[in-house]
């Protein structure tokens, strides 16, 4: 709990179309660098021990207590087989707030917040990433760096993640 960065409140829902040209939080998974819409990020925390949930897929680490609310934590490194899942004082959990639900995402590290103009976002190729291209906004270029921009709303609410129960109508 030593470093807890509170970012701005999640206001103003945006359609994915105009996300480009906004600020992205850059983080790394293994050797790759990813970016997500900063407005979905509630805070960034260190990794704390989680309570395992029986019979859940291994990338769902379990649940933690975030100031009185129970929050599920997923490890993206396990989910996308990127890097080795080690848990030390450098492991970072990005707390996301998506559609009113709070969830944590374990990544290797968080680097910075960058602003990308629409010209800097190139369409993602069909192949070459571990993510299904449905969940990608595009590739952001920033000098020598390349950010894989993830549509975090779509990804986290997908049935693949199994975080949100799909209720049959």
């Amino acid at each position: 709990m030593s470093y807890t960065t509170q970012t701005q409140a999640q206001t103003g829902m945006q359609s994915p179309g105009d996300v480009a040209g906004n600020e992205f939080l850059a983080f790394t998974l293994g050797q790759e660098e990813y970016g997500i819409n900063i407005l979905r990020v509630q805070e960034i925390r260190g990794y704390e021990p989680v309570t395992r949930i029986a019979n859940s897929p291994d990338f769902i680490k379990g649940v933690v207590n975030l100031r009185g609310i129970i929050v599920p934590v997923v490890d993206m490194r396990i989910k996308f087989s990127l890097g080795t899942p080690t848990y030390d004082q450098f492991t970072v959990v990005i707390i996301l707030n998506i559609a009113g639900r709070v969830m944590g995402m374990v990544v290797d590290s968080v680097s910075d917040v960058t602003t990308l103009s629409p010209e800097q976002v190139k369409p993602a190729p069909e192949m070459g990433t571990t993510f299904d291209s449905d969940y990608l906004i595009g590739l952001g270029t920033l000098n020598e760096r390349m950010l894989i921009l993830v549509d975090i709303d779509k990804l986290m609410s997908s049935s693949e993640m199994g975080l949100i129960e799909k209720i049959a109508a």
Binding site: P49, V50, T51, R52, I53, A54, N55, S56, G62, V63, V64, N65, R67, G68, I69, I70, V71, P72, R101, V102, M103, G162, L163, I164, E165
Partner: protein, 700 residues
């Protein structure tokens, strides 16, 4: 049994105030030409809820007004009557009257009985399809005008032997051409005769069976209805002398009150005199009544005019609880850190922390108590209501409550009151039969109504059950067809029972002021769905009906037993735990291919190894080394194998689903003293699946 109902008055007043404010807001926003049916329903429900509450507390005057209001709204809601601005006006006036009555009960302020009577008459008139005749008195309740006026204006049209009315229609100055046209048109309604006044205006005398509105409707094609004077006459024609007099008074009143005077029914002086006297008498009486009322109310809550409670949003309380929870954890951490310090050197620090610990604990308790209340708070208001209702309906009802000590979140308690009130009323009114009928069908004359609350499988289940006649499948289906709902004769019972939740659905033959409009169930379903709960109906014809409300545990205190398996700690709701013991190796038997059973006091119980279900690396796999906890749920018993018992504590149940999804075998989560999360086991689900457990893994 005597129960001081006055302890609940405040709640009723608060609720009613809110409902009235809501109603006013909706009324003002209502588009008269094309009213939104949702809004109409909402207004109707507000009226209905106030009526329900008022009836519970025996505020009969309020019940009376709301009943009329409701009747009228019901017809508009069902489209039997078009909404007019007059309706909205009348509703707003009745809202004011209700507020006044409410204040009368609450603070002992005076109630203007004339205004009440007027509004009742106005509502009644509207529901009979007559345009308002006497809005004046209601709008301007100034005694000077009100005293002589209502008697005159309230006189109903007098019908003659053939059911025909005699109208005297005085036209303003219009061209002869229009007069002829009108005469021809009005002639279609009945017999018409025509005469001229001194100032060349024309007066029709019409004998017709039609109402005034038809006349106005016809005339309004040609002239402004405001210029028209229609008076009811007896068989005799009014002398011109009287007419002029009436005219003058009218003019005077019109000047005083521009909103008044579309219709001016003529009344003979002879009738107006005693009527005025009665009005006078009626005025004196309510004054006395109001005074008595005032004394009664002021006895109760002293001189305090302000409310003694505030209503705070649940989110704020939730936030407070979460923050205090964090504080407790932080405080525990500090305590842990300083425990290694030298007690002599750091004596004052240690003392201060000790103080902090106590204060924190008190604070936590106080904050928790904001939300937690025993169900008794709700249950205790029903015996009186049931008794009164039963007496009114001539039924014999024995009322039993169970689980009144079950603690429930205050937010839920407050919201469960209305639905439960409806359900209990329904049960007494429709469920339990008349004594004769009960005797005829071989049952005890006294019906039994049970209200129970219990924690069950991570939910709170509140049941209203009666041993009455049960629901009638045929009648519900017939009614559903009549209302055009999509039904078939082969629907399963459960689906048929759900039909009674459709808006406006009621199979009761008579709409009484107790229940029967069908709005109750509509409200029940809606309120409970809003709380994230479900309503189930079990009914057997002739044997009774049970309506079970199941609410999720958004926040409930649970007595828990913490158990350990391997490295993991789980919470077992203590209510399900019978005992825990270490069985002798000889008492554990294997049933071929079906797992193990444990023999406990001559009883063989299935053994549920928790490590197997949750895929945990346990310390012990041999029951003789670990501990078995004997659980009982839904009448089934089983032995749960765990490694060790950790302790027993009260835990706050947190919903796992708010940010995650439902997990099989887990009913919720809680936060332990060290800030970690522990999962609460869903004992019913564990036991339910214990039989198939060994055949294939159920959990997943």
């Amino acid at each position: 049994m005597t129960i001081d109902m006055s302890q609940f008055y405040q709640v009723f007043f608060d609720e009613a105030d809110e409902l009235l404010a809501e109603m006013e807001k909706l009324l003002l926003a209502l588009d008269v030409a094309a009213p939104d049916s949702e809004d109409l329903n909402a207004i109707f429900r507000a009226a209905h809820s106030i009526k329900g509450g008022a009836a519970t507390f025996a505020f009969n005057d309020i019940t009376e007004v709301t009943h009329m209001l409701e009747s009228l709204l019901d017809r508009i809601r069902k489209g039997e009557m078009a909404l007019t601005p007059e309706h909205v006006d009348a509703f707003l006036v009745s809202k004011d009257v209700l507020t006044m009555q409410m204040d009368g009960h609450h603070h002992g302020s005076s109630v203007d009985q004339d205004a009440v009577d007027n509004v009742c008459r106005r509502l009644k008139a509207l529901s009979q399809g007559i345009l308002p005749e006497a809005p004046a008195a209601a709008d301007t309740p100034a005694p000077a005008v009100a005293a002589p006026e209502p008697a005159k204006s309230d006189a109903a049209p007098v019908a003659d032997a053939d059911g025909n009315y005699h109208f005297r229609i005085e036209l303003p100055e219009v061209p002869q051409r229009d007069v002829d046209a009108l005469a021809a048109e009005l002639g279609l309604l009945g017999t018409i005769s025509q005469e001229s006044l001194a100032d060349k205006r024309v007066v029709f005398t019409l004998i017709t069976s039609e109402g005034q509105d038809s006349i106005v409707a016809i005339c309004s094609f040609v002239l402004d209805p405001d210029d028209l004077k229609i008076t009811h006459g007896g068989a005799d024609q009014a002398a011109p002398q009287t007419a002029t007099e009436t005219e003058q008074t009218e003019a005077k009143h019109a000047a005083e009150d521009p909103g008044y005077g579309i219709f001016e029914p003529e009344t003979a002086d002879a009738t107006s005199q005693p009527a005025a006297a009665t009005a006078e008498a009626a005025k004196v009486e309510p004054a006395v009544e109001a005074k008595n009322l005032g004394r009664r109310a002021s006895d109760k809550d002293g001189a305090t005019q302000e409310s003694s409670s505030i209503r705070v949003g649940i989110e704020k309380v939730d936030q407070l609880i979460n923050l205090v929870g964090e504080l407790v954890i932080t405080q525990a951490m500090i305590e842990q850190r300083i425990s290694v310090l030298d007690p002599i050197q750091y004596e004052r620090l240690l003392n201060s922390v000790g103080q902090l610990t106590r204060n924190t604990r008190d604070l936590q308790e106080a904050v928790m108590s904001i939300r937690m209340m025993p169900m008794d708070y709700v249950f205790s208001r029903f015996p009186r209501m049931v008794r009164d209702l039963a007496a009114k309906l001539g039924k014999k009802v024995e009322f039993v409550t169970r689980g009144a000590a079950t603690e429930l979140d205050k937010g839920l308690i407050e919201r469960i009151v209305d639905p439960l009130t409806h359900l209990v009323r329904n049960s007494v009114d429709h469920g339990i039969e008349m004594p004769e009928k009960r005797r005829a069908s071989g049952k005890s004359e006294t019906g039994k109504l049970t209200l129970s609350a219990a924690h069950q499988g991570g939910n709170i289940v509140i049941e209203v059950s009666d041993d009455g006649g049960g629901l009638s499948r045929e009648r519900i289906l017939a009614k559903a067809k009549q209302q055009g709902l999509p039904v078939t004769d082969t629907m399963p019972d459960a689906d048929v029972w759900q039909l009674i939740f459709a808006p406006g659905f009621s199979t009761a033959e008579v709409v009484t002021d107790v229940s029967g409009r069908g709005v109750g169930m509509d409200v029940v379903k809606r309120n409970i769905a809003a709380m994230g709960g479900t309503v189930d109906i079990r009914s057997v014809t002739g044997a009774g009906t049970t309506i079970a409300i199941s609410l999720p545990l958004t926040l409930a205190i649970l007595d828990g037993m913490s158990i350990r398996v391997g490295e993991e700690v789980y919470i077992l709701p203590l209510g399900y735990v019978i005992e825990s013991l270490q069985p002798a190796a000889a008492d554990v038997k294997e049933i071929a291919g079906q797992g193990h059973v444990v023999k406990i006091r001559e009883e063989y119980l299935p053994l549920i190894p928790l490590y197997q279900i949750f895929d945990i690396e346990p310390n012990f796999t041999d029951p003789a080394q670990g501990i078995v906890v004997i659980l009982e749920a839904d009448g089934k018993k089983a032995a749960l194998l765990v490694d060790a018992l950790v302790g027993q504590q009260q835990v706050v149940v947190k919903n796992l689903e708010s940010n995650f999804r439902k997990v099989a075998g887990i009913s919720g989560a809680t936060i332990l003293g060290d800030g970690g999360v522990s999962l609460i086991l869903d004992v019913s689900a564990l036991l339910r699946s214990s039989r198939q457990l060994n055949a294939d893994p159920v959990f997943f």
